[in-house]
């Protein structure tokens, strides 16, 4: 058990714990924080898997961007009551069966599948550089498309979130 692996286990453990917190907590705010912890541990795992660029993206965009957005949403929807946003659960048993079923089936079928588990070391060199070049050559189409997607979503979301009038409280 080398230190790398130990770190991996640590990250996995934190991720699992934070997910469990998310499942069992009733406070949305805590859940969001737990998700942050989970995402950060995921970023760690990415880094251990030689995907540094992604790890950073994960940290910056998810932990930094998305979660702030979500927390912002929590605050906004919470403004009237002022109390912490509490969430109830329902369909617990049915959902648990379905989720557990999914999980088990995934594991069982994974067991029956012979993956190529070689952990060959990545080619030496600057991954981020290569990624940049790839992004602008081979992946230019999705890149541009992603740009359009972002543009459309932001304009649309802005419209959705802004256009309130007093008279349409119907």
């Amino acid at each position: 058990m080398n230190p790398g692996q130990l770190t991996l286990y640590l990250f996995v453990f934190t991720a699992i714990i934070s997910v469990l917190v998310m499942i069992f907590t009733r406070t949305v705010f805590y859940a969001a924080l737990a998700l942050t912890v989970c995402l950060i541990s995921m970023a760690g795992i990415y880094a251990l898997l030689y995907a540094e660029f992604l790890a950073i993206t994960q940290l910056v965009i998810y932990a930094g961007g998305v979660l702030v957005l979500i927390l912002f949403g929590i605050m906004l929807t919470n403004r009237i009551s002022g109390k912490p946003l509490i969430t109830e659960s329902h369909h617990v048993i049915k959902s648990a069966i379905i989720s557990a079923g999914m999980f088990l089936i995934l594991l069982v079928t994974y067991q029956k599948t012979s993956f190529d588990q070689s952990q060959s070391a990545p080619a030496p060199g600057n991954h981020i550089n290569k990624i940049g070049i790839e992004l602008m050559s081979n992946y230019v189409a999705p890149f541009e498309l992603g740009g359009i997607l972002l543009l459309v979503c932001l304009i649309g979301a802005a419209l959705m979130a802004s256009s309130f009038k007093k008279n349409d409280h119907v």
Binding site: K94, I98, I105
Partner: protein
Amino acid sequence: MTETIHSAASLWLALSVLTIPLFSALVCFVISEKFAWLSPMVSSLLLFITFICSAFLFFQVGDSHALTYSWPWFSVNENIIRASLLLDKHGLIMVMVVSLVSFLVHLYSIGYMAEDQALIRYFGMLGFFTFAMLGLVMSSNLLILFCFWELVGFSSYRLIGHWYEKQEAAKASTKAFLINRVGDLGFLIGLMILWSWLGNLDITYLNLETIPTFWLTTAGVCIFIGVIGKSAQFPLFHWLPDAMEGPTPVSALIHAATMVAAGVFLLIRIESLFTENTLVIISVTGTITAITGAIGALFQYDIKKILAYSTISQLGFMVMAIGAGAAQGGFLHLLHHAFFKAGLFLGAGAIIHAMHQAYHHQEGNVDVQDIRNLGDLRKKIPITFITFMICSAALAGLPFTSGFVSKELILTQMNEWSGNAFSWKWLVILGAWVVTLLTPVYTFRMVWFIFFAKSKHNVEMVEVPIVMRLSMFVISMSSLALLITFKPFHILTIINVLMSLYPNTSHLITLLSTLILLIALVSAFFMYKNYELKDQNKFLTPNLYLDWLSDYAFKLVLQFAILVHWFDRKVIDKIINGLTYLQVGIAHVTGWSDRYLVDGVVNGMAYSAKGIGSVTRSLANGKIQSYLLWAMAGLLIFILWILY
């Protein structure tokens, strides 16, 4: 050359005989209401022409061999159904009889129906009936014959229901047609059998060797079922008494002289078709009918009903004769019966008509057809009395009348047929003799209470109009053997052609039948002399041993009659009615099942479609997470289903 002219002439005659009555019917229906009074004259005239034509036709063809004419009617499967005329001796004699009686009835109706509102319909249907009846008699193709057979039934239906405002008339007409239809089904099945084996239905070309005996017998029996319906044989006879709801001339023409005789005529026409077994069935049926009819006639109060039962009995007698090998006798009796029974009905009509006229000014409702209300009429309406008496004598089989002649012939022929060894045939013979005994008895009873017994009501009566008297006179004359034979005890009928075929009757039989007749008349006389008819039959005190015997016999016979009547009314009628009710009942059940079962299944399918739909719809309860739940569950189930 002469042959062609001869046959061409007879063809034209035959066609005109056939079409003039139809023309008469058409004329009647075309005449507008304003000129309705014309129709009796015109149609009677036309029918007279028909009669003349038929007479000419008869003498034209004479005793030459039968003539046939045929035209293709339609073809199917390369078999051509030909509309064909068969002019043979039997047929032509029937044509004569039909046209004569029909003419006389037309004539009679001028007077009888003078005050009727629907003359057009009446004379139209009479004409149509005559056409159909003549067609029946002349056609040689069984399918065509069947067509006319049904058309005859149709006109009978219309004429019985002539006074349809009366519920009884309406019901009787329906009943008559329906019961006839039952018989017709048998006829039709017989035709189906013949067609399937022969592919041809022309009587003159039936190639009977190709049919297996079983099927031949079945076909014969089936066709005989048709005869049972039409000729009012046991067990389908009870429509005939009901049919008396129609106008009396109609009863004379259709339900005594012609239509009901069509069955007997048919039996003679297709005699070659009958196997031994068929003949047995025919003779037994005839016997039962004859006896039942005679007993029935013995206990009726309504003149027309008595005559109706008597007709049943006589028809049974003829059928029995044909079944028992006395076809010629049967045919002869058919002719004679046509005249004397028509005469009786016309006489009864005259009585009813006269009584109606008499009661017209009096108050109260008296059933003028009930013999209990009649009596002592012989002086009031003498001409009617005379004609009625002549015809009654013929019915009873008194010597010097036509009835005697044919009865003798039948008994003789049956005697030969039965042989010397005892067999079931003797029972048939016995039946014949019983009928011979009973016929004079009920005839006497009828005549006695109409003309001789003391009358309860004393009313002034006048004779019926001249046209009615004229036709009654003609018809009764034709029942007198004196006019048709010169030797009353030695049979020689008018028609020499026919006579040449007939064997002589034995004197023994003549003697015997005369004896029976005497016994019958004498005992009847003593029985009814001081007898008063009441609702409950009260019998004379037995002052003589004979009286007691006859009384006892009467009681016995009465019980049997009541039983028969009960049987007729309760069982057969109930069975038929019951069948109708049952049909209606079943129909209601099927109607119900139609509504609730068949429809229910279909609607149920629709409902269940909706039901399933509502289950699937209920998933859409508006809650997004249950949508997701169901979707994911579906996915999971799908995975599990594919995997395992």
